[in-house]
């Protein structure tokens, strides 16, 4: 199973004021807040840790079937961090391995259940239009085209569904089901799926 998340950094600056009183306290543990405050770019660290939590959360909801909103309970650990990538984990009842791509424009995370080293595909898409519906359809179109080439199946045989709690998967014409994770925010979208299923 897999979970992903992408944050458009410019959009996040407009949508959220992370310096708002009480904001960090509701999202992050004391250790995470220290990590943010000691970072050379605290805003970037806020959204990097947030995308780690979100990617793990999506995987957890897929597993448990139970949505909840407790960002503080998903605890981030950073193992390696450089300018372009973060390797770490998120702990919630068990460990999830998370890798995050960091760019000046977006941060994008993928979470997998530890210790499984499932090979996965992670693709980022850029949108001109930031309208929600446009992104919603855009990311699905790109994913269908990608899969259509990969498994040589007509796009019309690839159906993306969400279950009643909003967890997406792909159904193929032959009845196969692929767990996928989708995310879009601002000018960027991303999808993640296992290489084999």
């Amino acid at each position: 199973m897999i979970g992903n998340d992408i944050v458009d950094l410019e959009r996040a600056r407009v949508e959220s004021n992370w310096q708002r009183s009480g904001f960090l306290g509701k999202l992050f543990t004391a250790d995470e807040q220290r990590l943010i405050q000691s970072s050379t770019d605290p805003g970037l660290m806020v959204w990097t840790l947030w995308s780690m939590k979100e990617s793990a959360y999506k995987l957890i909801v897929r597993r448990t079937g139970r949505p909840f909103f407790a960002p503080q309970k998903l605890v981030c650990y950073v193992t390696e961090l450089d300018q372009h990538t973060l390797a770490g984990s998120v702990f919630y009842q068990q460990e999830y391995t998370v890798t995050t791509v960091i760019t000046p424009h977006y941060v994008a995370s993928v979470a997998l259940a530890t210790p499984k080293k499932t090979p996965f595909v992670h693709q980022i898409v850029t949108f001109d239009d930031v309208d929600y519906q446009h992104q919603h359809e855009g990311i699905r179109q790109v994913l269908k085209q990608f899969l259509s080439c990969k498994i040589v199946t007509p796009v019309s045989d690839i159906v993306i569904r969400k279950n009643d709690i909003g967890v997406p998967s792909i159904s193929l014409g032959d009845g196969q089901c692929i767990p996928i994770s989708l995310s879009h925010h601002g000018h960027y979208g991303a999808f993640a799926m296992p290489v084999s299923w």
């Binding site: 996040a12 949508e15 959220s16 009480g22 509701k26 407790a70 929600y132 909003g166």
Partner: protein, 85 residues
Amino acid sequence: MQTNDELITALKTIVKPYVQDEEAFAQLTEQTSFIKDLKVNSANLVDVALDVEEKYDIEIDNESMERMLTVGAAIDIIRQKLAEK
């Protein structure tokens, strides 16, 4: 104590700036989910919680926030916290 309708109206004013699905917002009921239906960005759900705290001068503890996924749940939490005041 405020009526449910009054609480829903107040909550709508708070949530409106974060809504990304206006159609779902127009048809909002107590069953409406902030994230799934209104497409509120999950980081903005924290702003909803903070706005509610400021408006009603209450504290939404993490345990309450954990279940604050729908309009109805948010109203229950506001009621409960106001009653505890």
